[in-house]
Symmetry: C2
Subunit: 917 residues, 2 copies
């Protein structure tokens, strides 16, 4: 009697033990758990899994191969022998539905009644089978059964299911059979016919239009199909020596290494969930069912060792005998994830690399942002207090008084208040107030609007694009459109940046904190062989300090202009923009830039500090027309001539500032600004070196933005070099500096080989030592999407499945990623040692990090608050790659495939070289 | 005595005749003329050319090879024998300078005096040599000589050069020698030393930083170096049997086939130019020097036959003997170019293909646009009337009354007046007035601003970005900044769109017209084998008619939204934008679109009509805030609620509309608009087919704009197909239609193979039959440059040489061109028959057309007025390619190189295929 075939994997009882674990792809998650338990000697109710690979066959043939049906029969017979029972009732959990009690019919129901000594139980089981079979297999609407049920209950005067007696249940079974008759369907009395029909129903459900659509919408890919498990029933409700329970092998909230779960004596699984009786803590089972409990602890330990992870298990004790029904790696909070990962390593149950994979990015995020506690989220204060919902701009929770202007925010903050800054939309001038606020709420702007981007950079909660509300700065009110509820300045609200919810009450928050286990774990991640480094985007001393604390290996992007918005500096910057001939103002700017840059070098001592030259269009720094009055005009050098000043502002307006006079274009049109910035950078470095001659180690990297052509690069690089060498000579210091560029214009990606080839004609030395991919702008230009304006269609695109991810959050591999890859290859062809990195928002996104790792980039740079997530993701991908390689080697032990692949790639590279020569 | 070597090409006298013409690359333009004249038996003063290939040698060695110096001496001796003169004086025209009279010294000056019987002439020649040698060879400042000259003239009381006698000239020569002494330099008395030094000076000048920079700035490339010609002097001032002249073999203004030129008896070339004596018409030479004139006519005919083109020649008659000094193809006007080209074919002097190459795109432009006549351009009214200078937005000349609003323009035009519309900048709403104006002048906006683009599309003169003026619409004045001159409404001005000049006077204009010779010539261009087709961008019936008259083979781009600005339609469009749920308005739009589309089908009967679905962001159609008042608000469905309407307008504002909610994104978010447009297109086609069942042949091609990903394309293509098939079925007509896309987003270029692969899942048929490269937007996105805002740096970039051309005029081959090529290859790999074309501004630019031809595109589409230029350019490039191939075959007669190249390409394509699979 063959019980195992490529389509059928038996488990439990006399099932043969697999030597190699079957693939989850083939037997499904539940099937794999059953297989493993069976293999390592943990008792499971015997059964068998029909593989996912039968799905496409069924879809094509509308039936299963004859050998499979024979296998089913063979296996049922094997189970009958193992259990010394006849095929009575079985469970069959499929993709979405479970049909319990298969095998019951008008005859076997009596057998079950006798075997269990519980007639009510048998008829209740039969009633359930009739209902589930009708619905799942024959597609009879559930409400048809429900109506009969209500009728019987009414007749019996019963309020509840459990109030029905045996006779009523028998009546109900007859009523249910009537439903079949009315629908022109038949309930088969032959247990095998029931089984076959159920199997077919499960496999058939995979390709229904509804299921196909569901997978398409939810982007569920690379699944072969659903597996089907057929398993004998065991019963926990057979008396006081029986019971059932669910448990985690460790505390899923804290990670503490104690069994965590509940059980009920003389009950079935549903009863634990349904809450009719109060379950007991699992530890008390030791007193009541000591043997089963000991066995249970032993089983769970075996499973933890085998899966090298915390387990979430279900079990039933039938007449003193323990049966494990299901096992899987347990879900857990961030705090628990970190603790469990580290404990497992300390207990010798897994390696450091394996431990890395047990922590998810969202776990790290939980630890970094204040969040509402799980209890708070369930509270009425929260659930009934939700007044509006926007977009989840930046995760985390914040509670505070409503303020409507950045100035108010700063004042209230100075008074020690926690505030939520509400704006129609934010602009760069608001950053002072945004920094002061505990959270930010905007009525307009998408996930990549100014508010969201800035907030994410700071790890500050933000709900953006909340179109449910109307913000009136004038009246200092927030109006909720649907309800006309009005909030005024000073009212306290809470916002949930992870969900976009706005809540009217004070909801308690918690921040698990950054240090301790997380730092240990990320240290392991950093040590993974070949791991990409993680640097930070930081614009000021405090940012840089934060970044260093979060483990950033340097600064990958300093946006120098962020320092211009300081209220004391802004007028100077504005005056210079209006009167660029005035070198005093430029000198003043140099003065404060120099001091800021020094702060960066001090905070990042010994590490790279990459400073991007001025990037945004100048008009971004100008006052808005409504802010211009005589005093402002006078201060900014227009006498009191407001109209003239307005005309100047108007004349600087650009239709598409994203594609206008900015980046290196500014540096070329106004070389004095580039010179000034280089002088400030190099002087700052020199200042630090002179102050701390023994300890200071500076490494400035000057990054030219928005390069599109080699002549632009050469122009700026030579200017930078000239100025840098001048300062070096003047200060008599050997300041090691590098020049490189941000690749963010598609054209730059296309001519990257030429940029990498540029040399100084005077000394023949290369002029470009690094590329950093500015994937924000590269995405905007390659895809032709302004992130500020993407809210008009990206949400719709995501809903319709035209985009799988928001391309500003996760890199578009096919388009933008192609450009990065193309550029990286061109750059490396010229200079194998060129430093390649990413400094866009994608640098902090795990899925994107995985892609960048595959391109062989040297580092990613992201906001200080994303650094821990990025470090984890960068380490994890290395572990995964190593495991995949090991699997490939195991599958092809002689490494022929690897060698062939490497050889093929070498040939392709050679050919590419030839094509491009 | 060897006189010919690879570095020395002798000509004239006993010089050996070359069997193959030397390359212009090797002997320079002047050298080639001398070589050819020598070869075909036209007498030239004997001499020799030192080749350009000596330039790099000289640059390296700072000297010429000894064999060359020997060759120089050998050739001088050969000339001495030929001319029966001793090395006395010679001319040596170099790259930029000529040193005349080499060989004169304190001794030979007397010999020359005797030989010519003119002592004053000899000393004047010597004086000139001292000056030119000092300046060109030794770098002595010219003003040093000038000062001495003034001193001598003052002493002699002479007002002018010619007033100096022999003695004063002798004194001057001594003064000049003093200059040498003061500068510590020496004037060599040895004629050979003079010659050697001059040769070295010429070759040395090639690599001076100034010359290198000059070539870099002026984008002079692919030159090996300068050639040097050394030639014996002949003198036209040796009496009444001598003379000199310049002539064109045909009239360069009209093209008429009569000799056109001037001569002077007993004079030197300089005298003709200097205007001291009035030259005589060349025809009169027949009376005075009949033998020389007959010889001259014979020579010129020989040269015309040889060069197959009209000649511009210089000659000298020395004592009755005619010497030809120089010949080259003559410059000519557009009218002349066309007439000459056609006459040459009719006379059997060249083929139709060769004739094509004799007409330049600017010649065709001259014929298509009104221009100021050559005389007018030289008149005081013009030259002294220039009040300001802007950018040459659209070529042509216009004269008219100043108006400040589109409305005024339309009114004045209705009254029969010619007007110039002056605006700070134009916007789509101004098009009515722009159309009514004879010319457009704007104070802001670059070569690709709205005003310039629209004007070029219509062939209407435009001066844009004229920052010299301040336009006040309120005061109805134009203020010229520098002079404070003020022009008021109604004042008449002229503008020159070819130069950007604004002139205060009425300058006469002329338009040579479109028909006649030009049509013949373009007909020849169209017949060139493998020539790219030229289609037109046309948005309305009149546009389409104009395009057809100019020879467009169809419509390559109809921007349907251009029809929305009609004053009767705009309110309807606006109402729909504000209330998209209102289907009545949509129906109304469909109604007028359907009628417009029918006009296009009628005008282009039998040809392709490519219609792009709605492309610009909707807010482009909305009124500006200052235009909103109660009446407008009411008309547009806001009651009288102005604030609400303003809020709606504000809410539709986009930061970067170029990259916002537009193109297919609109069609996806508002599918009803796509459906409406498809219904209008297909219904219009059906209407025409029903009206003219026997003659109507429609071929609509529906083009989806701004595609970035395949899912966007599939969404819209299926919608279009569904709607088109519905109309076909309803109307019971087989309307052949195609669906394709504009490739304008860089990402679309990267996934073009995937777009070309898309099929309708229902019937398995391909969904995309054409790509049209929208190179305007593709340039904007690939280079990251908004053309509306490019004025802030592109002029500076062009000036600095960072850009060689304005990328919005001439395609950026390295960047944007790479994307087009990449996409075209991907598309053809999937579908070798896919139609590939360009419909951006570049489609009308000859240099860009050459590039597109090299990519194998099927057609270019440009504005109706550019169609003739594009047809010419497309034909020319085919002729050039054929000639190049013939040259290659001649050089490698067995065609091995061609075959090797083809084989190589085939291998590369195969490899590319493998890489991409």
């Amino acid at each position: 009697m063959t019980v195992h075939s490529k389509y059928i994997y038996p488990f439990g009882g006399s099932a043969p033990k697999p030597t190699v674990d079957p693939s989850k792809q083939i037997v499904g998650g539940k099937g794999l758990g059953l297989q493993v338990m069976s293999k390592i000697g943990v008792d499971v109710p015997p059964g068998f899994t029909l593989t996912t690979t039968l799905c496409p066959i069924y879809a094509k043939e509308n039936d299963l191969p004859a050998e499979v049906w024979k296998g089913v029969r063979d296996n049922v017979r094997r189970i009958e022998v193992d259990m010394e029972k006849e095929f009575g009732s079985m469970s069959m959990p499929g993709m979405m539905d479970t049909v319990l009690n298969i095998g019951l019919n008008d005859v076997t129901v009596d057998g079950l009644a006798k075997a269990t000594g519980n007639e009510r139980f048998a008829w209740d089981s039969y009633r359930r089978l009739l209902d589930m079979y009708g619905e799942v297999v024959l597609g009879i609407p559930h409400e048809d059964f429900e109506k009969r049920f209500d009728k019987v209950k009414e007749a019996a005067g019963a309020a509840n299911d459990v109030d029905l007696g045996v006779e009523e249940l028998k009546t109900l079974c007859n009523e249910y059979k009537q439903v079949y008759v009315e629908q022109g369907k038949e309930f088969p009395m032959d247990p095998y016919k029931q089984l076959y029909a159920c199997v077919k129903a499960v496999f058939g459900s995979w390709m229904t239009p509804r299921a196909v659509k569901y997978r398409e919408i939810n982007n569920i890919k690379n699944l072969i199909g659903t597996a089907t498990n057929i398993q004998t029933m065991v019963f926990g409700n057979m008396g006081d020596d029986s019971g059932t329970g669910v448990a985690f092998s460790r505390n899923p909230s804290t990670g503490e290494n104690v069994m965590y779960g509940e059980y009920l004596i003389n009950a079935q699984g549903e009863d634990v969930v349904a809450g009719i009786r109060t379950p007991q803590p699992i530890s008390q089972m030791k007193e009541v069912l000591p043997a089963a409990y000991a066995k249970f602890l032993e089983n769970v330990e075996k499973l933890e060792v085998y899966f090298k992870d915390m387990q979430d298990v279900e079990f039933t004790v039938e007449k003193g005998k323990l049966w494990m029904l299901q096992c899987r790696n347990g879900k857990r909070t961030g705090v628990a994830a970190i603790k469990i990962a580290i404990d497992l390593v300390n207990e010798g149950k897994c390696t450091q690399s394996e431990a890395l994979l047990k922590v998810e990015p969202r776990h790290v995020e939980q630890l970094l942002h204040p969040t509402f506690s799980a209890d708070a989220l369930k509270s009425d204060a929260y659930t009934k207090g939700i007044v509006a919902k926007g977009l989840p701009g930046s995760p985390g929770a914040a509670v505070g008084k409503l303020v409507f202007t950045p100035k108010q925010a700063e004042e209230e903050k100075a008074n020690g208040a926690s505030v939520i800054l509400v704006r129609e939309t934010t602009s760069p001038e608001d950053v002072g107030g945004m920094w002061a606020a505990a959270g930010i709420l905007t009525a307009r702007g998408g996930m990549t609007s100014h508010a969201a981007v800035v907030a994410r950079g700071w790890g500050k909660p933000c709900v953006c694009g909340c179109s449910d509300i109307v913000v009136s700065e004038e009246n200092q009110t927030v109006l909720v459109k649907d309800t006309n509820e009005v909030f005024k300045a000073g009212d306290v609200i809470s916002i949930n940046g992870a969900t976009g919810e706005v809540i009217r009450n004070v909801i308690p928050v918690e921040t698990p904190g950054l240090k301790g286990g997380l730092e240990t774990l990320l240290g392991w991640a950093d040590q993974e062989e070949g791991v990409m480094k993680v640097l930070a985007n930081a614009d000021s001393g405090p940012d840089a300090t934060q970044a260093a604390e979060n483990g950033a290996m340097g600064i990958g992007l300093c946006r120098t202009e962020h320092m211009f918005f300081n209220p004391e500096r802004l007028p100077i910057v504005r005056r210079w923009i209006f009167h660029t001939e005035c070198l005093d103002d430029l000198d003043h700017i140099k003065h404060f830039q120099r001091s800021d840059f020094k702060d960066l070098f001090v905070a990042m001592n010994g590490k790279h500090v990459t400073i991007r030259l001025l990037d945004p269009p100048l008009h971004e720094f100008l006052p808005r027309p409504e802010q211009v009055h005589e005093k402002v005009a006078e201060e900014l050098g227009f006498g009191k001539d407001v109209p003239r000043m307005l005309a100047r502002i108007e004349s600087m307006h650009e239709e598409n500032p994203m594609l206008g006079l900015r980046g290196c274009r500014l540096g070329i049109v106004k070389p004095e600004f580039t010179q000034m910035q280089v002088e400030a950078i190099m002087s700052a470095a020199a200042d630090f070196m002179e102050e701390c001659p023994d300890t200071a180690k500076v490494h400035p990297r000057i990054m030219i933005p928005l390069i599109g052509s080699i002549k632009e690069y050469k122009n700026q690089a030579l200017l930078i070099k000239q100025e840098a060498e001048r300062i070096k000579a003047e200060r008599k210091l050997d300041i090691p500096y590098e020049i490189g560029t941000m690749i963010e214009v598609p054209r730059a990606a296309l001519v990257s080989d030429k940029i990498a080839s540029l040399v100084d004609d005077e000394d023949g030395k290369p002029l470009c030592s690094f590329f950093s991919y500015g994937t924000n702008d590269l995405t905007q230009m390659t895809m032709g999407i302004s992130r500020d304006d993407s809210n008009g269609f990206i949400p719709k695109y995501l809903e319709m499945g035209i985009f799988e991810d928001d391309p500003f959050q996760t890199i578009d591999e096919e388009g933008v990623g192609y450009m990065v890859n193309h550029s990286a290859n061109l750059g490396k062809r010229i200079n194998p040692n060129i430093s390649l990195s990413v400094c866009g928002e994608h640098g902090g996104d795990p899925k994107s990090i995985e892609f960048f790792d595959s391109l062989g980039l040297n580092y990613v740079s992201c906001s200080p608050y994303r650094v821990p997530v990025a470090r984890l993701a960068a380490g994890q991908i290395r572990v995964k790659r190593r495991m995949e390689a090991a699997e490939r080697r195991a599958a092809h032990p002689h490494g022929v495939a690897d060698k062939a692949r490497d050889l093929g790639l070498a040939v392709v590279h050679k050919i590419e070289e030839m094509i491009h020569q």
